[in-house]
Amino acid sequence: MVDFIEIFVERVVHFIENVVQPHFNYWSYVVLMMIGLWGLIAKRNLIKKLIGLSIFQTAIILFYVSLGVKADATIPVFDYEAEKSKSAAVVLPAEPSEMGGKSDGKYKKIDPDHYANPLPHVLMLTAIVVGVATLGVALAVAQSIFKDFGTLEEHEILEKIKTGDYVKHD
């Protein structure tokens, strides 16, 4: 019985080591996303649905940002000290004031692995803003529904639509 548990533990550790650990972020974003999706569909209150929706979108943002991560790379902002100290002999793009020089078009001396990948960050800036905009409009619509139906529970709203007792404008 004992070695059975050991094998099981050893198997689980192996699984975590080789399968989960290298893709840790990607597994966590899937879990987060599923929580959001569950909230979106199962919850009956409109606001809770919106919370589920924003968790759903945040998970995607987590996925995109973890795309661009490079081991021991700094944020994608060019820092002069690191470039200067790393290879003094190398011709560096100088300070802004003495900039004048053209780049020679070949692969530059800047080591790309030193900086994180900027593109996912740009994309996620847009996705965040889109998420905020959608959330804003959804909240406005939810408020308009509350004005007319007096409730935010979806099943009550459907009830009221069937019976037809909601504020009917002209």
């Binding site: 995607i60 780049s103 889109v130 409009v137 009917k168």
Partner: protein
């Protein structure tokens, strides 16, 4: 100047929207002229681009910000996908024109503010309307997968606003569901693009396809397949393909009539166009039909969509709801057509032609129904009682749209069915052919039921047909109900276009076939 046209086409509605927001709140009468001017400019650009693509036979490329692939800026050679690329080719040139025409016609239709909650909101309406147009134009010509997501969001947000601003509370509830479903769809698409970016390293559609064709291990990788499924799921939600259509009927029937008239014909069709763009340009038809190869399942889903759409349409007694379920069936046509993996790609050509045909047909029907609702308060089917006498001119427009839906020869509806059936037969998908025929019969029953009610009145007089009212009595006193010119002119132009597109389908399809030939489709 000519190569700046694609961007101007997208920008003029944007500038229109901004000026309407700026000046509209003070003088509501200023909104309409600004809207018309900006939409006319974009229509002229759209036609100019199509003309250019037609004469030169080459697609028009446009790199925003001057970051052209291969161009040397400041001594740096710019790789593909560095900037955002726009491209007008044989596939989207016509879609661009159809959007331009539809948006212009509906803006003319929407000039007379119907009894919305408060008519002070016309400038909000026109601002959202123009942003919707800008989003649709951008979606059609963009060549960058992520930029497509942003433009889908622009047009979706504008459509959420347009639907929710109506006076009927049911409209706001439908808008809420539409927001949730639309955002989930867009997020799935975004996730799919993320998976693709991770495996191919670029966001440019051509770049992705080159990598997929270049390295087999990327092509056969699981994540590219999952990316494709996610993108398809996202687009199917957006176009209300069968299992995911829950939001469409309420959203388009309880929204303000002029909003419905622009959303119904365009939103779902542009999503179908995006799906086809994804299949042809991003993944390449070989990858889609060989290594992915789920076409049998998806054609069966389309067949179910067609049957379900038609049967639900039969069951409705509200006019707009019925048309909405017909849209669900038409989406089944297009998706089914696109996924027929027939050798000469006739199914795909039929689907693309059907995008154009269906946009016009739905526009014609929704304009007519909106006019009925506005002038004669027609909601249910039996309110159509004796409408031939009251509104004969609008009824003629409705008839042309209905005949196109049924698929009577001179109209474009017949020819698109012809190509789809041809594709169905050549690819051996007989269930798709049968579905098409049955749904045209159901359409025939649906629309002739309406004609009967409108022609005879809901309960015709008993006994022999002899009327002794004097002979010229048929022009009854209710002449006053006839629709105003601003809603008749768009309706008749659309009806004329439906017949024109039908008769000109030879050249149109030759033009479309070049896409299928150029971009790795079957033989041209």
């Amino acid at each position: 100047m000519i190569d700046q046209l694609p961007v101007i086409c997208v920008l003029s509605p944007l500038f229109g929207a901004l000026f309407v927001a700026l000046f509209g709140s003070r003088s509501h009468s200023a909104c309409f002229p600004i809207a018309i001017v900006s939409l006319v400019i974009s229509l002229i650009c759209a036609i100019g681009c199509t003309q250019q693509v037609f004469t030169t036979g080459q697609a028009m490329d446009y790199f925003v910000g001057g970051w052209g692939a291969g161009k040397v800026v400041e001594g740096v050679e710019i790789p593909l996908g560095f900037g955002i690329q726009l491209r007008v080719d044989h596939l989207n040139a016509l879609v661009l024109c159809i959007i331009g025409i539809a948006v212009l016609l509906v803006s003319i239709f929407a000039i007379r503010p119907q009894g919305e909650k408060d008519t002070e909101k016309t400038h909000y309406f026109y601002s959202l309307f123009l942003m919707l147009a800008c989003g649709l134009f951008g979606q059609t010509i963009t060549r960058d997968a992520f930029n497509l997501f942003v433009l889908v969001e622009v047009s979706s947000l504008a459509s959420y606003g347009l639907i929710a601003m109506g006076s009927s509370p049911r409209g706001t509830v439908a808008a809420f569901n539409y927001i949730i479903m639309g955002t989930v769809g867009a997020s799935f698409y975004l996730l799919g693009v993320g998976y693709l970016y991770l495996k191919t390293g670029t966001l440019n559609m051509d770049g992705i396809r080159q990598v997929i064709e270049l390295s087999p291990d990327v092509a056969d990788s699981r994540s590219v397949m999952v990316a494709f499924i996610l993108i398809m799921l996202g687009m199917w939600i957006k176009m209300a393909f069968f299992p995911l259509y829950g939001w469409l009927p309420n959203a388009y029937s309880y929204c303000p009539s002029s909003a419905g008239a622009v959303l119904a014909p365009l939103m779902t069709k542009v999503s179908v166009y995006v799906m086809i763009r994804m299949m042809i340009t991003v993944f390449g038809l070989e990858w889609v039909f060989e290594s992915f190869d789920w076409s049998a399942l998806i054609v069966w889903l389309a067949v179910i969509a067609i049957f379900a759409g038609s049967v639900f349409a039969l069951a409705q007694n509200e006019l707009k709801k019925m048309l909405c379920y017909l849209i669900v069936a038409e989406v089944g046509y297009m998706v089914g057509g696109a996924w027929l993996a027939d050798a000469d790609r006739w199914g795909l050509t039929g689907a693309i032609y059907h995008i154009l045909a269906d946009a016009l047909m739905t526009l014609c029907l929704f304009l007519a129904v909106a006019t009925f609702a506005k002038r004669a308060g027609v909601i249910k089917l039996d309110d159509l009682d004796g409408l031939f006498k009251k509104m004969p001119l609008t009824m003629v427009g409705f008839i042309v749209g209905a005949l196109a839906m049924i698929g009577v020869p001179p109209t474009c509806g017949f020819f698109s069915k012809f190509y789809l059936i041809r594709g169905g037969i050549e690819s051996g998908r007989w269930e798709f052919v049968i579905a098409l025929l049955v749904s045209s019969l159901v359409n025939a029953i649906l629309f002739f039921r309406i004609f009967e009610i409108a022609y005879f009145g809901s309960s015709p007089p008993e006994g022999h047909g002899h009327h002794d009212d004097e002979e010229h009595g048929e022009t009854t006193a209710r002449r006053g109900l006839e629709a105003p010119l601003t809603s008749l002119v768009p309706l008749w132009i659309t009806a004329a276009l439906i017949i024109g597109l039908g008769l000109m389908n030879g050249q149109v399809v030759e033009f479309i076939r070049k896409t299928v030939g150029l971009l790795g489709g079957g033989a041209a």
